[in-house]
Chain length 469, copies 2
Amino acid sequence: MPRFLSRVVRTASVAVFSLCVLAACGPNLPHQETIEGLQARALDDPLAWGLLSSLTTDVGPRMPGTRGDVLGVEWAKARMAALGFDRVRTEPVRFPLWRRGLEQARLVAPRVQDLAVTALGGSPGTRGVINAQVVHFADLAALEAAAPGSLQGRIAFISKRMERSRGGAGYAEAVPGRTRGPFVAAEKGARALVIRSIGTSTDRLPHTGTVSTSEDGTPVPAAAISNPDADLLVAMLEQGETVRLELRLDVGFSGTAESHNVIGEFDGREDTGEYVTIGAHLDSWDLGTGAHDDGTGVAITLAAAKLVADLPQRPRRGIRVILFANEEQGIHGAKSYAERHAGDLASHVIGAESDLGGGRIYQFRSNVRPEDEPAMDQLARYLSPLGIPRQLDQPAGGGADIGQLRRLGMPVVDLSHDATDYFDLHHTANDTLAKVDAQDLAFNVAAWVTFVYFAAETDRGFGPIDPSP
Amino acid sequence: MPRFLSRVVRTASVAVFSLCVLAACGPNLPHQETIEGLQARALDDPLAWGLLSSLTTDVGPRMPGTRGDVLGVEWAKARMAALGFDRVRTEPVRFPLWRRGLEQARLVAPRVQDLAVTALGGSPGTRGVINAQVVHFADLAALEAAAPGSLQGRIAFISKRMERSRGGAGYAEAVPGRTRGPFVAAEKGARALVIRSIGTSTDRLPHTGTVSTSEDGTPVPAAAISNPDADLLVAMLEQGETVRLELRLDVGFSGTAESHNVIGEFDGREDTGEYVTIGAHLDSWDLGTGAHDDGTGVAITLAAAKLVADLPQRPRRGIRVILFANEEQGIHGAKSYAERHAGDLASHVIGAESDLGGGRIYQFRSNVRPEDEPAMDQLARYLSPLGIPRQLDQPAGGGADIGQLRRLGMPVVDLSHDATDYFDLHHTANDTLAKVDAQDLAFNVAAWVTFVYFAAETDRGFGPIDPSP
């Protein structure tokens, strides 16, 4: 067994071993020894876990505009400084402040039961209790098909279920019910909208998430109930029962708040002015402690940057870690960053984000100029011992935050997390440290050091891609 | 393959097949054909699932003294009548009425976070908000070791974790923290007690459950927080942080309420005056819909009685199903029943209850006179094709409710459910239909028809065991 293999196999899984044997990893590549060392170190390194543990314990929920958000920014600055980043700075981000108070949903007919409910981010409040009959729609399209004004005095209920999959495609299919549903329900005259949570949990924990920030019109008060509660309502409605709910949401916007993107940079060994730009979002929803969303991304990107920067020799280019403010309520931090740095795309040589939870990375995709494809082939060779193949069907999107820079022309790579279980926790009270697997986290750092080091070191370089709106 | 085997194997699992082959099921036993038919029918029968689905959907939570409790009693009477029980009656049960209102726990130092909390049943209210520092105890013994009065102005916190196991032994080990803890905390001068939930869930859902009803003294207000929240407090306390909580529990006793044991009987074909007495408890906690606890027991015992009674020929003895009132808050229904029927033990020829959730039955135990042991050996032969061995290490206890009759001298059998996952749901909001496996439920009915039919039919009979307090 080549040394490269033996070292990785010692710490990685059997799957790694088999894949590499099957793929016949072949002769040494230019940076192979350095990368094999980085991967092995990452698989054993407690740094990412320590960061995640501290972020979720010492800071906790980081909803934009709250005290937790401020603590998060302070934490990030202090951690970056402690990790030895060469420069740490913040950039202000302003956004409408949305507050969550008491939220209650109670089934009152055909019988009484408290439901597990949470308001959607951006929802207006109910101003007291709404007591109304439920009208059932299988999905957003069915609600859209209702006659305008036909839901006067009623609560619209969308029961569409998100499907589970490794890539998480079911989320995009179901989420318009949450983002656009409250506006469509308003058009139809409804007093409120209740949706089945956009998530795969079978627990009595609802999934929050924001309504659209770009839709015309005014949304009705809107909330998500847990999957088992949605099942209950559907069972009653299918029996022909008249279902009534009491809904109280003491939530809503009040003024404007400020938070900060936190940016840390490690210099490269050459003065190229180029940075590999990686990131995650620092904010979270309030129900949990933002462990998977996006504490793991914060921990992975910080740890990967640190491990690469700690090499005996820095890579050619610099590494920039951006911890974005307020992704959850409208991608405010990344949009602000992209606007501010639109004239400086050249320094953002290539980028990636981690924002799909802490599941194991199982593939990667890229979005680079055609002439930079050979570099991506080379990256595939380095990732292959970890069992992470290149997926060529679709170009990388960059994710919600880094995608804002991709749209301006920055090439991006997606290291895709296995999201099979992610949407059990996503935006729920269950998104806490207890649900993160430390070994998966270390594995993901091993994938990330591979990308970060290679992208920062390769002499091929990367040029801008076509901007896309 | 003998016909007995082939018919069961068609519907049962591979495990059944292997076990029976290994055990060399041997020549036909007296009631073999009838029992094999009953088992096969039970494995395919939707009755138990239908009952459970209706109980959790149409009735929902059945906390003693609530409207749901009344609905539950009505439901049970109507269902027994519809199933063709020869007699259906109720017996009143009185108990102190305990109410749950708003309950909130908030971490306020070293930082702010809402915790997932629920009051313990029987807890007094906090009369407003208690804001106090937390003092950490690893278990009840550590709290007991504290000096009397030493916790003045503090909230005691017991962090003992319940261990997971098939038999659920970890529950008995951890539960004194819940039942006795609030009284011990009072002795030590604490203002309140917060415990790590007695349960194995890693979800942000706390496990409720009652405080002792037999302890001297007055308990302090007491609540359980979810396991992840307990982990969070422990992590902070281990870092040396001063942890403060705000606790508000609008709960407490107010007067007395009445519910009913619901009793249905199928006659036997002979006028022996003897009944196989089986049961479950009809009440539940309020947080979920009492699906596993104890909807499955209600469904299993009703379905098993019905399947046996529907045989072309009724068994020799009668079958009595008792759905007990208010087990959760002090075994009130079963104690009342035992008191009322203490002079009529002779008609309670043998008994069993189902009250450990819907997991697959994996063993049985018995508690009979020495001269009745051969009958239990015979029962073992009938249960063997289902892969349910006899466990001889311990005598059967009968469970919380049927155990009240065992104490008076009624022989009992325990059909032990696999409780590995039960305590993930037990006494939480997650105890809903979504968490019950329909195939496991049918399997359990197959085990139960075996016991019920055999006990009702065997010509051996059963005599009373020694009463034990």
